[in-house]
Symmetry: C2
Subunit: 466 residues, 2 copies
């Protein structure tokens, strides 16, 4: 049985569910209902009855319809019987949110082995245990008890850690990252990193792939797979358990074997995949793949002071971006002359690269036009969405500036990305961000993350060129 | 004239104001009104009339009451006449939001010199030009046209860049940093970094100081001042214009002389001040000073999985924190035995350091109690405020956990800080954060920032001990 039917199940049975909304099984059910899962939902627990208006069956076998995927929230003591029921019922796969297997003790290790053995004999696949399972935006199947969900997109992400799979959804969505599939595979007793990764490379809905690994059991095969296929789709790897202490913690977390991080890193580099560290970097690199065309040159033009002060942001751009290999070459004499026709007010502007417009939003479109045919590979615009937009008048200015940015993005004349200083958006900022995201505009959460993301995608496209 | 009367003016005249709410002068006025500035406000422009219900005077001289501080938003062409008027009126200081002086051209340079000369002859102080001026939470005097303002506190911040002064307010407030004074001094034509810094060291309302510098004119004196006084109050320095390109941009921005960053860094290290880079680091280090007692030891206990999964967060804690010199020593056998009495459910927990509670919030208080008398110097708790709290039931769990954390913080038994994975809080998360901040709980925006902040404060307190 391949994974396609598990990522697009026509029906899900939730085992271990009650009316108590804080129970993980019930949270998972509520997540599916909120997301609007497109298939059929069946509920199972020992007591029967009714939950959320659904009839509750006392066992999987009692469900009078076909079941593709079973999501399990019962304690480990009941799993062997459940697996047997599922095999008898002829389900396609079982995802175990239940923990307490090979990551915990010998009994758990034996139990895990036994349930995989039974399932394999019947062609039933197992996800986990000790994971938060599979999700798919096209089927509106949300992720785990956190109910993570978002708009349909083309980024696939797999994670050994359930927490990071959820965080990826949450943090990625905030920045306009749109997922096809997100999956957490925990102890990988049956379906493992290699199978999931192969699936995402095959999946036509997935164009870019990210992964959080703590370790792998089939290292050689994993690296060969990546090396062979990374030209087809950009692939970003975040490795946890880098230090000796981190490796030991990973062992307790998902039962991962320790591996020297230096060996791991050397192998990743040979494959041509992109390395990242932490949720922010991983999201930023994937954003750059999702929203920018392939960029192979490193010449950037920086525009600050679109509204409000831009001097400090110009200074730190030149502090930070060159350290990521980006080139901030001066503007040409011809460009400077054209700028003089547009920026008639001298005061508060800096006509270099970075270019500080001195807070005259109306000119942004004219300035972009000047550089639309330039030698720069990408234009970066500082847009502090947070701190002005709730104050009188600034919000309107930013809305107008955003329209100009969206128009320029649509013109396809030159790649463009935005840099936001760190902070939280208010209601107005969220509305502006949403419009930018809906139009595929790339917004980086900080200048450091912008530098990291651009240098990563440039290296990828240079290496994996045609 | 010292700076105390300028930071606590009994009256402010705003010069260059109109009914148009998007004009900088009007935005500044609206900021003062929103913050509830405690002194008198007078308005000035050439047309007279009325704005926001205030009479508008045609010149500063016409104001029939004493004026302490004048805030200027008119073009540079009118500034000499204005300075003369202010001298005649006998004001105490003038802050020039106006740009177009020594940072722009020769004419601007001469103008700046001339206005400082006139003002000095009359004992009138000048802030800027090319800045967003002074602010003080005690007088409810907001900062610049952005109207930045926040709760009264004990952190003083000075910035050559107006944009970063505003961003500091905005981003700092989001994480519970509370300011006494924030000031931007732009071209520093009269009041400069040294005078502002001396003032903050003297100011009884200021207990911790931060600064963004692009350069300085009196380097030797600056470093001697810091060296002499840094033991009195923790001082955090962020230097912009680190690269050659950055230095050139700084020259155009605030007319700062270029200085080799390596020389600068060596000098800072000799003083015993704390170095930082970027708004997030600077805020995080100041947060640690504001909210934690002096910590000199580096032994940390990490608690994850308070609610929801904690395994991945445990792994990256051990990846990141040791690289900042923090020691994650194992818990003792005695502590492990006590834990067994509390964490009766084995599954999903990791009883090491990091400690993964496996998502049982009710136990957090008991667990903290076990370590209240331990050898650890600080307890760090992962609290993902973002992604769960909007979903059914999670918010209540986090509210309960926050209460436990606040109680433990009040007990003063052991320093404690929280680590949040990156993201934006929703309404519920904001409410929880606010309660934590009101109770002085330190929340770091990421594990990297937690590492940086703790290593900085530990070094500071070790070096500047007793």
């Amino acid at each position: 049985m391949g994974l396609d039917e598990l990522f697009h199940p026509r029906s899900i049975a939730v085992v271990g569910v009650s009316e108590e909304e804080t129970k993980p099984g019930t949270r998972y059910l509520d997540g599916l209902l909120t997301a609007g899962y497109k298939g059929e939902i069946y509920l199972v627990n020992r007591e029967g009855g009714e939950v959320r208006g659904f009839k509750v069956y006392r066992s999987v076998k009692e469900i009078p319809h076909p079941v593709d995927l079973v999501s399990v929230f019962i304690p480990r003591e009941g799993v062997l019987e459940l697996v047997k029921d599922c095999c008898e019922k002829g389900v396609k796969g079982i995802q175990f949110f239940t923990a307490g297997f090979s990551e915990l003790d010998d009994y758990g290790r034996r139990l895990e082995k036994e349930m995989v053995k039974i399932a394999k004999e019947h062609g039933v696949r197992i996800i986990g245990p000790n994971c938060i399972g599979l999700s798919c935006t096209r089927c509106r199947m949300s992720l785990g008890p956190g109910g993570f969900f978002g708009e349909e997109g083309n980024v696939g992400f797999i994670s050994q850690s359930g927490g990071f799979a959820g965080l990826m959804y949450n943090y990625g969505n905030l920045w306009g990252l749109k997922f096809s599939k997100v999956a957490s595979y925990g102890n990988a007793s049956d379906v493992d990193d290699i199978e999931l990764l192969s699936y995402l490379f095959d999946d036509p809905d997935t164009h870019y792939i990210g992964a959080y690994f703590e370790g792998t059991r089939r290292g050689r095969e994993l690296f060969e797979l990546i090396k062979r296929r990374v030209k087809e789709k950009p692939f970003v790897i975040w490795k946890g358990g880098r230090t000796e202490e981190g490796g030991e913690t990973a062992l307790s977390h998902t039962g991962s074997m320790k591996s020297s991080f230096e060996v791991w890193r050397a192998l990743v580099r040979q494959t041509g995949a992109v390395e990242s560290q932490g949720i922010e970097e991983t999201v930023s690199v994937l954003l750059a793949f999702q929203n920018l065309p392939p960029i192979r040159g490193n010449r950037v033009l920086i525009i600050a002071g679109v509204i409000g002060p831009g001097g400090g942001m110009s200074v730190i751009s030149t502090d930070i971006l060159p350290s990521y290999g980006l080139d901030i070459s001066p503007i040409s004499d011809g460009e400077r002359r054209k700028l003089e026709g547009v920026l008639t007010r001298l005061v508060g502007t800096i006509r270099r690269n970075p270019l500080d417009l001195g807070g005259v939003p109306i000119k942004l479109g004219d300035v972009l036009e000047i550089f639309s045919g330039s030698d720069y590979d990408i234009i970066l615009i500082w847009i502090p969405l947070w701190y002005f937009q709730e104050f009188r008048g600034w919000g309107e200015d930013w809305e107008r500036a955003s329209e100009v940015i969206i128009d320029f993005k649509r013109s396809m004349k030159k790649p463009l990305a935005l840099i936001s200083p760190p902070g939280f958006p208010g209601d107005r900022g969220r509305a502006i961000l949403k419009k930018l995201f809906d139009n595929g505009v790339c917004v980086f959460p900080s200048v450091e993350l912008c530098g990291k993301a651009l240098s990563s995608v440039i290296s990828y496209w240079r290496r994996n060129e045609g």
